[in-house]
């Protein structure tokens, strides 16, 4: 029957080890007094009721009556007395428990430290040994004894426990939280219901505060959830069903333009790994982003690329400022932790804009903010604000405005008098501020103040100010200059970035829609090429793998110029998953720059881009856009591939499943009654003595089985479902095994084996060859008269190896040779010997599948000769001496 897919023996052994090992169940509590022992005893009682053999190893009742009452039904294992100095300690007796070997053992206080002289220093080690012996264990544990949490608990309770258990053991256990609200626990404590060890009394007041208990409780709940998550993940890993994250942490890393982004990304990756959480790298596109230098932009793009390479999802969020963008996104995605770089900005910048970190910490409740120090400070300063219109031009224009104003003012003064002149000077200041920004407008302000003072304020043509009112005029001009330039500057930047992000987003959305609309690979490739060419104003070409070669799957403009070096670069990029070609590290002689389309399924294509002007194919300010486009293109290809795979697999699977089900149910349905027939015949023979009847029964059942096997094999041959497993085969071995299986059929013939032990090994599928030999030798026995010889003969000739079966039967009618191997071909006399007409067809089918020839001929001396022929390619060279022996 078809070998249905099933887990490997290794996986099963592992599962079996887990299963045959005793299970551990931990009753986990936040603090003493929550009722862990009580719960453990209750579960023990339930198991007892269910018929399990439960023994209490160590149960600390601390004299509580209700707990002691629960102990009543259990067999209690006597403790072992260990003298320690003047004291005698009553410890858990592991040997007694092992000897008693119950199904379930109740053992309190998992974290207990054994008395010196015990077998294991820690009780959890005793419990591990019990589990190895197949005993299930129920135990209790307080959260502060968990190793990884020990420091944390000590940190806020100021009580440090020395007794800890490794986290790994918890991962392996079933955990039940025993939970009591803090208020109730404090009540119990006051009522004296909680046993507290002497030495802890002092710390007690502090330890049992409500805030501590709440924190401990949360820790316990989280730890239990983590264990559940891990079980789930292990399950996912072992079933290979990835892609579904357990509910839990989500991490977000804010990628900025500062140097050292790599360190930030890596820190986030480590955190994500530690928490086994999915993570996202977010870049916030603010008005300020537009003023970033090329170097800063490319740093940002590199960081995002690294993040994406390390498995992060990449998101760009447009927002007024980093803080707003981040908080909005964190809330929207319900992230549980955010990783952010320590700001490298000057204290002045932070004073004006506020520290993002501080504001995040204040604004986000329940989100862990991890601040990572990054990079060196020096690098960034000179790169800011490169896009501002040049200051000199602004200054010249500002001075020009002031000169013009002065000229106009001189003309107007004779008409309106000197008093409104100061207002006129607002015009050049506002104009400069709006058009050229703060620095130019400050210079213009200074010029305006000087000009006003010099030309219009008494004493005229000096720079002294006599009237204090005029000082105010100068100050007002200054303030107006600053405010107007800030407002106008902000508006101007916001407008440009808004327009740019809007066009890019629209383009991306359109791109996404086009990709979603096409449903074949070439259509997708062409869409990618055209859109990327449009958006970046470059030539594009997309290569995809077709067999061993890369072929052009799309291009824009059509028919690109591709030379051998370009192909080489594309292949390199495809094979390594790295950028190659122009402006990269590899094969820079190519006119094209090739970017791999990386997906979870590996590289599915490479996108080549080239610029007519031979400049950098991707300008720094388009990097982010390009990375996004590339990501979308890769996703589209991945989607297509997955769809295609899924279609193919499901069609094959359905066919295979149906066949496997059919054959195995046939197998079961037929072989079960056959087994019963044989066993019944044996029973008859045993009760009434063996007879010809019982012998016939058994022989017929055996024959029926062969017929059935032939049918199944024929079905497989016909449906092309044969899988050949070639292995080195010793023909002596193979023939001997067939003869062994056929000993009943061959009982009345002489079997002559002429298979020299010096023959080379040959390639064959062991099961098929066995079946073929059974059919051939069985056939020979069927047609040969009793007591004649059946010969199996193997010969090596220069270009082949032949294994022949010779019988002494009637042979077959001349001219029938070619028809013999057809299905249901039966030769004369077959009726009497009971063949199915399938035997030789199967021989032929299997021989074909194994790549062997098969021939049939009548022998000159009478009888038939059937032969299997191994071609030279299926004959193994002898091993060099020493390899095997």
């Amino acid at each position: 029957m078809n070998a249905a897919p099933r887990p490997s023996p290794d996986a099963l052994l592992k599962a079996a080890r887990r299963e045959s090992r005793g299970q551990l169940k931990i009753f986990l509590g936040a603090a003493p007094g929550v009722g862990k022992t009580f719960e453990m005893l209750r579960e023990g009682a339930e198991r007892l009721k269910a018929g399990d053999d439960v023994v209490a190893g160590i149960v600390e009742t601390h004299g509580r009556a209700e707990t002691e009452a629960l102990m009543a039904p259990f067999e209690v294992l006597p403790r072992r007395n260990i003298s320690h100095g003047a004291h005698t300690l009553a410890e858990f007796d592991i040997d007694a428990m092992l000897a008693r070997k119950p199904a379930v053992a109740l053992i309190d206080e998992f974290a207990h430290t054994n008395a010196p002289g015990s077998r294991h220093p820690k009780r959890w080690q005793d419990i591990e040994e019990l589990r190895d012996a197949g005993i299930d264990v129920l135990t209790t544990l307080n959260i502060q004894h968990v190793e990884s949490l020990n420091d944390i608990v000590a940190g806020f309770t100021r009580v440090r426990v020395r007794e800890t258990v490794p986290d790994a053991i918890l991962d392996d256990a079933e955990i039940e939280i025993v939970d009591v609200p803090p208020d109730e626990l404090i009540e119990r404590l006051k009522a004296g219901k909680v046993y507290v060890p002497q030495e802890a009394t002092r710390a007690l007041g502090h330890f049992f505060s409500k805030s501590n208990l709440s924190a401990l409780r949360e820790l316990a709940l989280r730890r239990a959830a983590q264990t559940v998550d891990r079980h789930l993940l292990d399950h996912v890993a072992s079933t290979g069903d990835a892609g579904n994250w357990a509910a839990g942490d989500r991490i977000l890393v804010a990628v900025g333009d500062q140097p050292g982004g790599d360190a930030l990304i890596r820190a986030a990756k480590r955190l994500a790994d530690a928490l086994r959480a999915p993570w996202t790298a977010v870049s916030i596109e603010t008005p300020r982003s537009a003023t970033l230098s090329a170097a800063a932009r490319s740093r940002m793009a590199d960081s995002l690329k690294l993040a994406s390479g390390l498995g992060a999802a990449i998101v760009t969020v447009p927002a007024r400022n980093v803080f707003e963008g981040l908080t909005a996104h964190i809330i929207e995605t319900r992230a549980t932790a955010v990783v952010i770089g320590k700001s490298q900005r000057s204290w002045w910048f932070e004073l004006r804009h506020g520290s993002v970190v501080d504001r995040l910490v204040r604004a986000l409740d329940g989100v862990a903010v991890h601040v990572v120090p990054v990079g060196d400070v020096a690098a960034s300063g000179d790169e800011m604000r490169s896009k501002r219109p040049p200051a000199t031009r602004g200054t010249l224009a500002g001075l020009g405005f002031v000169a013009l104003t002065t000229a106009i003012a001189t003309g107007v003064q004779t008409l309106v008098g000197p008093n409104s002149i100061d207002l006129l000077y607002l015009l050049p200041v506002i104009a400069t501020a709006t058009l050229f920004g703060l620095r130019s407008s400050l210079i213009a302000t200074a010029a305006a103040v000087l000009a006003y003072n010099f030309f219009f304020l008494p004493p005229l043509y000096t720079l002294t100010i006599s009237d204090p009112q005029n000082v105010i005029t100068v100050l007002v001009l200054l303030v107006v200059a600053v405010v107007a330039s800030q407002l106008a500057g902000g508006l101007r930047q916001e407008a440009t970035i808004g327009a740019r992000t809007a066009t890019e987003n629209a383009a991306l959305a359109a791109f996404g829609q086009r990709l979603a609309a096409v449903s074949d690979e070439n259509g997708t490739a062409q869409a990618v090429c055209e859109d990327v060419a449009d958006l970046l104003d470059v030539s594009t070409v997309l290569f995809a793998r077709d067999g061993a070669r890369l072929v052009v799957a799309g291009a824009s403009p059509a028919s690109p110029a591709i030379g051998p070096v370009d192909i080489a670069a594309a292949e390199w990029s495809f094979d390594r998953g790295e950028i190659a070609g122009r402006d990269s590290a590899t094969l820079t002689a190519s006119d094209w720059q090739f970017h791999p389309l990386e997906t979870a399924l590996g590289v599915l294509g490479v996108l080549g881009i080239a610029r007519q002007t031979r400049g950098d194919p991707v300008p720094a300010d388009k990097r982010l856009l390009f990375t996004t486009l590339l990501g979308q293109a890769a996703l589209a290809h991945e989607r297509l591939k997955l769809e295609a795979n899924a279609r193919e697999v499901s069609a094959l699977q359905q066919r295979d499943d149906l066949r496997a089900t059919l054959l195995s149910s046939l197998g079961h349905d037929l072989k079960t009654p056959l087994t019963a027939v044989v066993a019944a015949a044996d029973a008859l023979a045993a009760e009434h003595g063996a007879s010809a009847t019982t012998a016939t029964l058994k022989a017929e059942a055996r024959r029926l089985r062969r017929v059935f096997d032939d049918l199944v094999e024929m079905t497989r041959i016909e449906s092309g479902a044969l899988t050949v497993r070639r292995e080195a085969t010793d023909l002596t071995d193979a023939v001997a095994a067939a003869a062994q299986d056929l000993r009943a059929e061959l009982a009345r013939h002489r079997l002559v084996l002429d298979v020299p032990p010096t023959l080379p090994l040959v390639d064959a599928d062991p099961r098929m060859l066995h079946h073929v030999l059974i059919n051939l030798i069985g056939n020979a026995a069927k047609f040969s008269p009793v007591d004649t010889a059946i010969t199996v003969q193997a010969r090596r000739t220069p270009d082949r190896l032949t294994l022949a079966v010779l019988d002494s039967g009637p042979g077959f009618p001349p001219g029938e040779e070619s028809r013999l191997f057809d299905r249901f071909t039966r030769v004369d006399g077959d009726d009497m010997t009971g063949g199915t007409g399938l035997g030789l067809a199967i021989v032929k089918g299997f021989a074909d599948a194994m790549g062997l020839g098969v021939t049939a001929a009548n022998r000159a001396e009478g009888g038939a000769r059937f032969a299997l022929v191994w071609p030279e390619s299926a004959i193994r060279r002898p091993l060099k001496d020493g390899d095997a022996t």
Binding site: M1, A3, R6, P9, L12, L13, A15, A16, R17, E19, S20, G134, S664, G667, H668, K671, T672, L674, T675, A676, V677, V678, A679, A680, D682, A683, A686, K698, A701, R702, R705, D709, R725, E727, A728, T729, D730, T732, D733, A734, V735, A736, A737, A739, Q740, L753, D754, V755, P757, L761, D765, P766, R767, L769, H770, R876, L879, D883, A884, T885
Partner: protein, 223 residues
């Protein structure tokens, strides 16, 4: 040698007939129709050998093999499927033997005897099989009283087979034990070594009686 045997098969007719044969041979018999029942019954005191059908309604029988072996019971797998991969998997998981349905009662009883005989660890001392005697500690093999010179690998393979006489030892097991993990796939080594052993130990190397080949599965030293 009689023992307490557990028959696991979902067909009550088969259980009844096999029980009859086993009881005639003097064994005492318990039955189970599902994997769950089987695990409970196999754990019971006194059970020594489990006849395990692989086609159970509630669970793939092969998953029970390591579980039952962990209880220190002998396991003979009964299978309707003549698939070598399944046999190899069962043996690699610790099964002592397998029998393909439909089986002869005599053959089944013989397999049961063999499995029971070797349940306790085989003493690694000397043994005689027909005209061949093997003294493992002394690393000495004689045939008809004459010492036979074996290569190191030949002796190692023979020793591995002799430690579990009458049991099929899988190719992978032999290769791993003798040549190491790196050579588990190198079945050619095993073929060549077995050929050497046959030539040196078998009366008629073309028709081996001592070293039996189980096609696609492994070898058996017939004890």
């Amino acid at each position: 040698m009689t023992a307490r045997i557990l028959i696991v098969d979902d067909e009550s007719a088969i259980r009844r007939l096999v029980r009859g044969a086993a009881e005639r041979a003097g064994h005492s018999v318990a039955e189970a129709g599902t994997a769950a029942e089987a695990l409970v019954a196999a754990r019971r005191e006194g059970c020594e050998l489990v006849l395990l059908d692989l086609g159970l309604p509630d669970r793939d029988g092969i998953e029970l093999v390591p579980l039952i072996k962990a209880m220190d019971r002998a396991v003979i797998v009964l299978t309707a499927r003549d698939a070598t991969a399944e046999k190899v998997a069962a043996l690699d998981l610790g099964a002592d033997d397998y029998v393909v349905k439909p089986f002869d009662s005599d053959e089944l009883l013989a397999r049961i005897r063999t499995a029971l005989r070797h349940r306790s660890a085989v003493d690694a001392g000397a043994m005689a099989i027909g005209s061949v005697s093997i003294d493992l500690p002394a690393r000495r093999v004689t045939r008809d009283g004459q010492e036979v010179k074996l290569t190191r690998k030949e002796f190692a393979v023979l020793a591995e087979l002799a430690r579990h006489p009458d049991r099929v030892i899988t190719h992978a097991h032999l290769l791993r034990a003798v040549w190491g993990d790196a050579h588990v796939e190198d079945i050619e080594y095993l073929r060549v070594t077995m050929r050497g052993l046959r030539l040196k130990l078998e009366a008629d190397p073309a028709s081996p009686q001592l070293l039996r080949n189980e096609p696609g599965v492994g070898y058996r030293l017939v004890g």
